[in-house]
Amino acid sequence: MDVDNVVMAIMLNFIGGWSEGLAQRQEDLMRNLLSASALALIFMVAPANAETINILVEGGGEMLQKAVAEKFAAETGIEVKFTVVPYQGVFDKFSAEIASGSSAFDVVTIDVVWNAKFAGHVEDLSPLFTDAVRSDLPPALLADAHLGGKMIGMPAWANAEIVFYRKDLFGKPEEQKAFQEKYGYPLAPPKTWQQWRDMAKFFTRDTDGDGKTDFWGTDTIGTFSEEWMAHVLQAGSPGVILDEDGNVIIDNEAHKQALEFYIAPHCTDHSVPENVNEIGWGEAQNLFYQGKTAMMKFWAHAYKMTPADSKVSGKVGVAPMLAGEAGIAAIPGPWYNVVPSTSQHKDAAKKFIAFAIANNALGIEAPLGLAATNSAYRSYSGKPGYEHFTPLLETLSAPATQGRPMNEKYQEIVDEAVLPAVQQALTCKEDVGELLANARETIEDILD
């Protein structure tokens, strides 16, 4: 490929973008800058000998990357093969490959929680992070990719918790009137902690008159701790569990405030189903889909996946994640494409990753409907069925949003210290400050 062809490709991309009308101009400019950068990168790197690259991925990830893989194969002639495994299989198989010293996989799509574990075994992808790519990614996703002085992976897609609410209930005049009279402000999608608690209490009721509550304002998840971590960031903590220097900060004031807020709907307001320590993501989602809760904080993809035969189909509204003193914040859930150091086709793998980020919007048509770049989300935000993209992007890009601690022992810390503390707090019998102080000691032991 000579320079003339590169220049021609870049020009054609720009011309395509400018010809589509003024309204879309700014967005198209960003997309085309990305495409042009990626194309330039693709053609500048050494020609790859590989005809096939193998990608190790979890089931949902194959769906999200299939369209881009097909386009990549058509444009470059490099075939892409996916090896799909269950979620934990990605970690197990990649670990086995690393231990064996050579890899059958050229790209592995990993969950962010494994970034620290695999950082020492993957290629530095810094050259792929051009200015255009960097400016098109939420800062939290860039931060999670930066480990040990290198960019270990390129975001493939990202998710975050946002607020889901029942549009039909929030829009009812009689509900609006009753809420206004009781709380002194209008009923609208909640933005703050206090509004969340008020609205959850307001909607909790006995609908069939049998003396038992059968409809709740929301739920509290007791089997995962990420939602509490989001509140920690909203409260203004400089980090979750650990600060950027690796010091344990789980017992700082923001963590305490967040835990007090997290348990309040269960322990004080009784606005959630009682079996909180049995409620996980799946249960929370089902309670909402079955019309038993008025609101939930949940990962944004659930909006598009609302079953057509669900009681709430067509009645779901979405809003950005709640804000605390530090503003809106969430824990992002991105997945990264990494190139194993043992890959036999590194150049082709990097070409694919550059191509994938330049064509990131192609994954949105997949059932999960997720992407990583701002431009990909914006390109769909006005379309029916994608109303969740605007609140998701606002949440992902919020200044206080940041990832989980990048520590190899993260999962152990969560399992041994964080989750037990949250679950004990949800018994409503323990002092939150003491629980977090104990958790701090456990974490320090783990890190020592």
């Binding site: 089931g59 495994v85 269950p86 979620y87 299989g89 086995a96 059958a104 969950d111 799946g282």
Partner: protein, 278 residues
Amino acid sequence: MRRTPRFNINGILVNAAALVLVLSYALPYVYLLMTSIKPAADVQQIPPSFLPAVVSLENFREVLQSSALPKAFASSLAVAVLTTVLSLAVAVPAAYVATQYRRKITTLFLLFALVTRMVPSVSLGMPLFQLLKSLGLLDTIPGLVLAHTSTAVPLALLLMSAFFEGVPKELEEAARMDGCTRFQAFRKIILPVMIGGIAVTALFTFITSWNEFLYALLLTSEATKTAPIVIAEYNSVYGLAWGAMTAAAVLYSLPVIVVTLALQKQIVGGLTFGAVKG
């Protein structure tokens, strides 16, 4: 004159206890079956319901339309059958020699064979991965068959040894006196007597390979992926497709149930083999 049936309280109590025991074992499977025939919206109903409000086959339709599952079933079947054949070919003669010609070394042999059952599978996964990789057998049926055989042979050896313990030595001696060689005596006299035990061992070996997950996950990719891996894929990070997963699990359990029912006579015979020997 018709005899009035005797009211046997002990018999009733024993049968009632047996029924409770059977139901407690069967309950998870029955729940799985019930879940598989519920419509998607009812699968994770809160509070959960045991019986489906509406019977629906949409979950079965979904899994049968998937391109991955039939191929994975074929891989599982090939691996399980070959593992069973190979394990029996190794374990049956080995167990016979170890029990009928008992020496210190045969006792040690049986003891060492059990060692692989004592070590957690996960710790053997990595060496197996590297071994098969160096042999170019990753993601191949023979590779997975060898891996499964490495864990199935000790089990088969253990079971067959127990069955052979019940075979009197005089049986082989009588055959030898009638002019058989040792191998002929083993093949023509001993093996036919052991059909029940072999059937039981074959079934357990088949089930071990059929349901094996960890080695299949580590040692296969797309070409020879087995059904337990594909079924586990219904549990994605973004949700668990309970309906499809339970439907696939029901379908996957059918061959084992059919084989067990087909071999019921031999299995019962095998399990009671030696029980009445003096």
